[in-house]
């Protein structure tokens, strides 16, 4: 455990993190930084790729919001070797998604530095922008106010994988005195970076272990409740139909999903572009058929495709125009799928994807 505590950062947590990232560029330790940052045109910070430290005044990775899963942007950035060292500031679930994409030959983590954080969850975009309007320093206020922390999404409030794996550096707030924080190096690369930035190793944040344990227990309990309720809901066809009753087949959830990686979803291809007589025949068989058709088919098929890879980031629920808690269904079902295949997405980049383990455990390349 290599903790670099900052007991009294004079400029506050957000500015400390911002200047740390600026120095990474300034000291040429990296060529670019992908991080959440506010900008004049959006009331919600967006993932932004910086190369000039001076333009980083809006950087705020600890802001309790993630309008889109940065995994997809990180994957685009590392799709093929660019020869540049890029710092990727990602939430734990986004790292897990990125690792799944690596396995699918979509990108590589060769020259990437991954910085993550104790993820206390994110709010839906609308709720975040309302709270941000009420006053400055939304991030500091969020970090110190349990009441604000209560406004995070259902998915985040039932997530017990809030600590990052496979990251080089973690921005630690759990267990720090109010207003304080620490940087934790998880890899030698992270250690070298922090030390070259002049941070001094120290002992662990005072109540870090207890706080982490407390949060983990709380989240696990609520997760179990949610999953049991959802599983019950899904256990009958009526329950399932009611759950997706208002689905419009807009496929937003697919677009927002970081691990749903097809270039074009099969449901958009002619495989599901049914000729009129087929639709009429389907209607005659049952007397009536809801349009657009194949809604259940879509959700079940998507589950069969990425059930093993769902990292529980909750973006599908956030983008659903009909407010369907798609993430609840996907996380509940994929927990059982992953148990069935004894597979955890994002745990280890060398762990092969279950469906593809065909010939004595190795995937043909």
């Amino acid at each position: 455990m290599m903790m670099y505590p900052l007991n009294s950062p004079d400029q506050g947590i957000v500015q400390t993190v911002r200047s740390m990232l600026q120095e990474l560029l300034g000291k040429k330790l990296a060529d670019a930084v992908l991080v959440l940052a506010s900008n004049p045109w959006s009331d919600v910070p967006m993932p932004t790729l910086f190369t000039d430290p001076d333009r980083m005044e809006g950087v705020d990775p600890l802001a309790p919001v993630a309008p889109v899963s940065s995994a997809r942007q990180a994957s685009a950035l590392t799709r093929s070797p660019s020869g540049k060292t890029v710092v990727l500031v990602l939430r734990p679930c986004e790292i897990r998604a990125l690792i799944e994409l690596v396995k699918l030959n979509q990108c590589s983590l060769e020259n990437a530095i991954i910085i993550s954080m104790d993820c206390l969850g994110r709010m839906e975009n609308k709720i975040f922008s309302d709270e941000a309007k009420t006053g400055p320093g939304i991030t500091e206020r969020f970090l110190s106010s349990p009441e604000l922390q209560g406004k995070i999404t259902t998915t985040c409030s039932t997530c017990n994988d809030f600590l990052p794996e496979n990251a080089d550096i973690t921005l630690c707030t759990l267990g720090a005195e109010p207003g304080h924080m620490g940087f934790e190096a998880l890899t030698d690369k992270g250690k070298a970076l922090l030390e070259s930035l002049g941070f001094k190793k120290g002992d662990d944040l005072p109540k870090r272990k207890q706080d982490i344990a407390a949060l983990a227990d709380k989240r696990s309990l609520s997760k179990k409740e949610l999953f049991d309720a959802t599983a019950l809901q899904m256990s009958t066809i009526d329950g399932f139909q009611t759950f997706i009753g208002r689905c419009l087949n807009c496929y937003n959830c697919r677009t927002a999903c970081p691990v749903c990686y097809c270039k074009e979803c099969v449901f958009l291809t002619d495989v599901f572009a049914h000729p009129p007589e087929l639709l009429l025949e389907r209607a005659t068989r049952r007397g009536a058929v809801k349009m657009p058709t194949d809604t259940s088919m879509f959700h079940l098929t998507r589950l069969s495709h990425i059930g093993h890879a769902c990292v529980g980031c909750g973006q599908c629920s956030s983008v659903c125009p009909s407010d369907i808690q798609v993430a609840d269904m996907f996380r509940t079902v994929s927990e059982k799928t992953q148990a069935f295949f004894n597979y955890t997405p994002g745990r280890d980049v060398t762990e092969p994807i279950p469906q593809l383990v065909v010939r004595n455990g190795k995937r043909g390349d």
């Binding site: 399932f240 088919m297 079940l300």
Partner: protein
């Protein structure tokens, strides 16, 4: 409703189980007519969508027949199918479809009687399970 007759889709591989079905035919080994069969080149060709579609269209049971391990005409298509179908059964069982409604059996090309036995047994098991919960609902 008249005596319940289950609707069953059988996805079988051409080299083994379909040949066994033909052999059951030439040997006049009858079995319930509720079985409706689709011929594929290999069980390894069965996409999970086909199974999901069959159940959502109201099939009460899906039977998949392939070659015995080691006998697959395409070396290990049946082994891939076994893993994939295991995953599909796990998925469907979470949506209220009893696991027994999706069966995977190895039936060799020369096993006419075994084919008949498997068909009859499967229809009995599905009849016992009763109609699928989809039945005549207007599924979305």
């Amino acid at each position: 409703m008249s005596e319940y007759k289950p609707k069953i889709v059988a996805l079988v591989c051409n080299w083994c189980t379909y040949t066994a079905a033909d052999l059951a035919g030439t040997s006049r080994l009858s079995y319930p007519a509720e079985i409706r069969m689709i011929r594929l080149m290999c069980t390894g060709m069965i996409d999970q969508k086909y199974i999901l579609k069959a159940f959502l269209d109201g099939a009460d049971g899906v039977f998949i027949g392939g070659c015995h391990p080691g006998d697959c005409h395409y070396i290990d298509g049946n082994i891939k199918a076994e893993k994939r179908i295991g995953g599909t059964r796990n998925l469907l069982s979470q949506f209220g479809f009893e696991p027994d409604r999706l069966a995977l059996q190895w039936i060799g090309a020369s096993e006419g009687p075994e084919f008949q036995h498997n068909m009859t047994a499967f229809v009995e098991r599905i009849t016992a399970l009763g109609p699928s919960q989809v039945a005549d609902r207007m599924i979305l």
